[in-house]
């Protein structure tokens, strides 16, 4: 028993400390890499003339795919926004994923749709398609509406959209996402700018909960007022501007969010499309595309751009937040398990040797280790084995570092382009960063543990429904 206790003490007093130092070092590296990448992007923006693309006959065509499940309240504005994007060659594919409300009827009425003999080739297996609609009005000739049976996942609907798409690139988004009008022109840039084949690109997603929106267009960007969205905003800034930009710099990106991602259709089809059984289908797809490219010895890039091009509503109630986070963690664990052959496999280069181990050790394992540490901490406190001054210094060490990283992410956000008009909104974000480790992080930790529990116990998890309250009260499937 004594030996066990010595070992546990050794693990928690030494190994975990070095583990924390390693995490911190990795964060610092991400901070540096991301600022290099953001600066490079900003400098190129000076030089790039977008009108050359807008007027060109040679741009690659893009299919914009947006699944819709019970989106009666937002579908008209959503489609209107998508049809107004600035790009010379694109189509909009709305996939009505077996809605039980009047989503389809609203589309038919508003856009003068009629059932067409559009040929649907099922390259990726999906739930059956009931019909495909096109507009009788030439103004909406870009619009295609697919009506299909519900597939109980966004992945199935997205796959149906991919099957129907006719362009070499496709952009996946959600019906409730508000896209910037220049989204396509900005996101296609890496595909035409890079000399190596780009297989996917993502951009920064922001939170629209407190933003002013009119007819599907964003009028004013504001920091969320509510507790959960406010902290999620911080989390998004950190994840997108620090994490993903840095991974993009070394071509190690493993996740392009479902809210906005532009993909090379050929590679997606070769890799088999979205996995409709996965709870983290966006991450799983990138993993599979990377594996496919590496297995076929083809050079490729997965890139990210630091511009906020998509605004989405996030859960503001604890119940929905809990379900979302549990699902994300389960999805992460699933993806890591599916692609376990990549783990420290030199064949997969940066992906196998750096990105994948990073996600295993610092994203998936971190909450488990943290929880273990807290339990051990409580045990030491009860048994009177804590030297309180050491404990306080260690707490200050972790706390001050995490606040510093978040504040730096806010600075990078300012460098990438000031989103908030007023200083007091940024101040609010800074204040939130200071309290985040005590009030928000425990929640994230708890739901991560729950997600792992669901994964290991193979417990069933439903995608569920969520009440979005941002612009109109309605029921929709969560992303």
């Amino acid at each position: 028993m004594d030996t066990l206790s010595i070992w546990i003490s050794l693990i928690f007093e030494q190994a975990i400390f070095y583990y924390s130092v390693l995490i911190m070092f990795s964060y610092l590296t991400l901070v540096i890499l991301s600022v290099i990448e953001i600066r490079k992007y900003n400098l190129r923006c000076w030089y790039i003339n977008h009108s050359a693309l807008l007027n060109s006959q040679h741009v690659p065509g893009i299919s914009v795919i947006a699944p819709a499940f019970n989106e009666s309240g937002t579908v008209i504005n959503g489609v209107h926004t998508l049809l107004s994007l600035n790009y010379p060659k694109y189509e909009v594919i709305i996939v009505n994923d077996g809605s039980t409300d009047d989503t389809l009827q609203k589309l038919i009425d508003e856009y003068e749709l009629a059932e067409s003999s559009y040929y649907y080739h099922e390259e990726i297996k999906t739930q059956p398609v009931k019909g495909i609609y096109k507009s009788k009005n030439p103004v909406y000739s870009k619009l295609i509406v697919i009506d299909k049976h519900n597939g109980k996942s966004k992945a199935d609907a997205s796959n149906a959209g991919i099957n129907a798409s006719s362009y070499p690139l496709f952009l996946c988004t959600d019906m409730d996402c508000i896209l910037h009008k220049d989204t396509l022109i900005k996101m296609v840039r890496p595909f035409v700018e890079e000399k190596t084949r780009v297989i996917a690109t993502g951009s920064v997603i922001r939170i629209s909960n407190s933003c002013e929106v009119e007819n599907g267009y964003l009028k004013k960007v504001k920091v969320p007022n509510k507790f959960l969205p406010l902290f999620q905003e911080l989390e998004y800034i950190r994840a997108f501007l620090l994490g993903r930009m840095a991974w993009s710099k070394i071509n190690g990106l493993m996740l392009v969010s479902g809210g906005i991602g532009l993909f090379d259709k050929e590679v997606v089809l070769s890799a088999g499309g979205y996995d409709h059984k996965s709870f983290g289908e966006d991450m799983e797809l990138i993993g599979r595309m990377r594996v496919w490219m590496e297995d076929h010895k083809e050079k490729y890039l997965v890139t990210y751009i630091p511009e906020s091009l998509c605004w989405t509503e996030v859960p503001s109630s604890l119940r929905i937040f809990a379900r979302q986070r549990t699902r994300w963690t389960k999805g992460l664990a699933q993806t890591l398990w599916i692609h376990r052959k990549v783990f420290f496999n030199p064949k997969y280069k940066v992906f196998g040797l750096l990105t994948f181990p990073y996600w295993v050790f610092f994203e998936w394992l971190a909450p488990l280790i943290e929880a273990g540490g807290i339990i051990f901490y409580i045990y030491l406190a009860i048994t009177g084995q804590i030297t309180w001054i050491y404990a306080l210094i260690l707490l200050a060490f972790v706390y001050s570092f995490s606040v510093m990283i978040t504040i730096m992410a806010i600075l990078w956000d300012e460098v990438a382009g000031m989103k908030y008009e007023k200083k007091r909104e940024v101040f609010k974000l800074c204040l939130a960063a200071i309290v985040e480790p005590f009030v928000y992080h425990p929640l994230v930790l708890f739901f991560s543990l729950r997600g792992n529990f669901y994964f290991f116990s193979n417990r069933k998890l439903n995608w569920g429904e969520m009440t979005r309250i941002g612009f109109k009260k309605k029921k929709v499937a969560i992303d």
Partner: protein, 372 residues
């Protein structure tokens, strides 16, 4: 306090001392970062304010004293001197005013033509603003060079050609491409010759920028781009194909056919597409003969091109591929090609289809329906 002294005086374990050190540094950096965020905001706001003031003052002067005239000769020398001295004062006020003036004049020069454009150009020259653009061309920073090149070409500053030529061998490819565009815009005689010497691969983006630059330059003598097809730089071959199609240079068809044996699948694909876009009837038999040698994507492109040419000579060939192929892309391309012909062809093919040809039937319906 005693505890802190203990930390400082090295009485604590190394790990704890390290943790304390990191915590202090992190706290300091946090406060510094917050300060930078807000100071940066204040500076930016101030800069925006000055910028707005500069824009208003310059626009007012230009609007009231320059744009009211139809040509430079209408302005009396006295009036012109007075206007220029006002603008000169604004220009010398500070860096923001000067930058603003260059930006606005470049903007007007780009968007206005005729006599007003000439007035803007004359104002730019007499205010000696070109020296600032030329200074940028000499900067060691690539983005300043490209900015300078953009200003020079938009202001149609032919006097700066010599400086532009110096940049065609710059080590940064973006600068080189910007200098090619500047040469095109300034209508330098050898602009295409200089461009054809590019050794590094041009990205799709750079090719598009060059195409846009060439296409939007009025009065440019357009050469036959078939010379690009023999380049060792594959991206120049691709650029040449784009330009041949955009300018519908039918005299390049024979040259396209001569290089269709290229090793590169992608170049062959683009050539096949170009032949279709140029409605090259003389290329039909060559395309049909190549069909078996090509990968699936190129086979599909051959069918589409034959459909675009639609001479009627390849109907049997397309019909055969349509009925026999197993690959969906080939069947789809053949269906598109059939429906590009007069409607009677699609009607006849449809009548031939049996029950087992459900895919073919569906695709013919797809392509013949007006909604699709």
């Amino acid at each position: 306090m005693n505890q802190l002294n203990a930390v400082v005086n090295h009485n604590y374990p190394e790990i704890i001392r390290f943790a304390a050190f990191v915590a202090i540094i992190s706290a300091i950096l946090t406060f510094c970062t917050i300060a930078v965020i807000f100071v940066n905001r204040v500076i930016k706001k101030r800069r925006q304010k000055i910028q707005k003031m500069a824009d208003e003052a310059i626009l007012e002067t230009l609007g009231e004293r320059i744009f009211i005239y139809d040509s430079v000769s209408d302005i009396s020398e006295k009036e012109l001197s007075k206007t220029l001295s006002i603008l000169d004062v604004l220009k010398n006020k500070n860096k923001i005013f000067r930058k603003s003036m260059i930006r606005l004049l470049v903007y007007f020069q780009t968007n206005l033509t005729g006599s007003v454009g000439r007035i803007v150009n004359a104002t730019y020259s007499r205010l000696k603003l070109r020296q600032f653009s030329l200074k940028k061309l000499q900067s060691p920073l690539w983005f300043l060079k490209t900015q300078g090149l953009t200003e020079v070409q938009r202001m149609k500053d032919v006097m700066s050609l010599l400086e532009v030529y110096k940049l065609v061998n710059d080590k940064n490819q973006d600068v080189r491409v910007a200098s090619y565009i500047a040469l095109v815009r300034l209508r330098a005689r050898d602009c295409f010759e200089v461009m054809s010497k590019e050794r590094e691969e041009l990205s799709e983006w750079q090719q598009m920028m060059l195409v846009e630059g060439i296409f939007n330059t009025i009065g440019l003598t357009i050469p036959s781009f078939k010379t690009f097809l023999r380049s060792e730089n594959r991206s120049l071959v691709l650029l040449g194909i784009k330009l041949i199609v955009d300018y519908r240079q039918l005299d390049a068809i024979q040259e396209l056919l001569a290089v269709i044996n290229a090793q590169d699948d992608f170049i062959r694909l683009r050539i096949i597409e170009a032949l279709g876009a140029l409605n090259a009837e003389e290329a039909e038999s060559s395309l049909r003969n190549r069909y078996q040698l090509e990968p699936v994507k190129n086979k599909a492109a051959i069918l589409i091109s034959l459909g675009l040419i639609a001479s009627g000579n390849s109907v049997d060939f397309i019909r055969q591929k349509f009925m026999e192929a197993e690959d969906f892309l080939i069947i789809k391309s053949a269906a598109a090609a059939i429906t590009s012909h007069p409607p009677v062809v699609a009607y006849e093919v449809k009548n031939e289809l049996q029950e087992e040809h459900a895919v073919q039937k569906g695709l013919i319906n797809h392509f013949t329906e007006a909604l699709n």
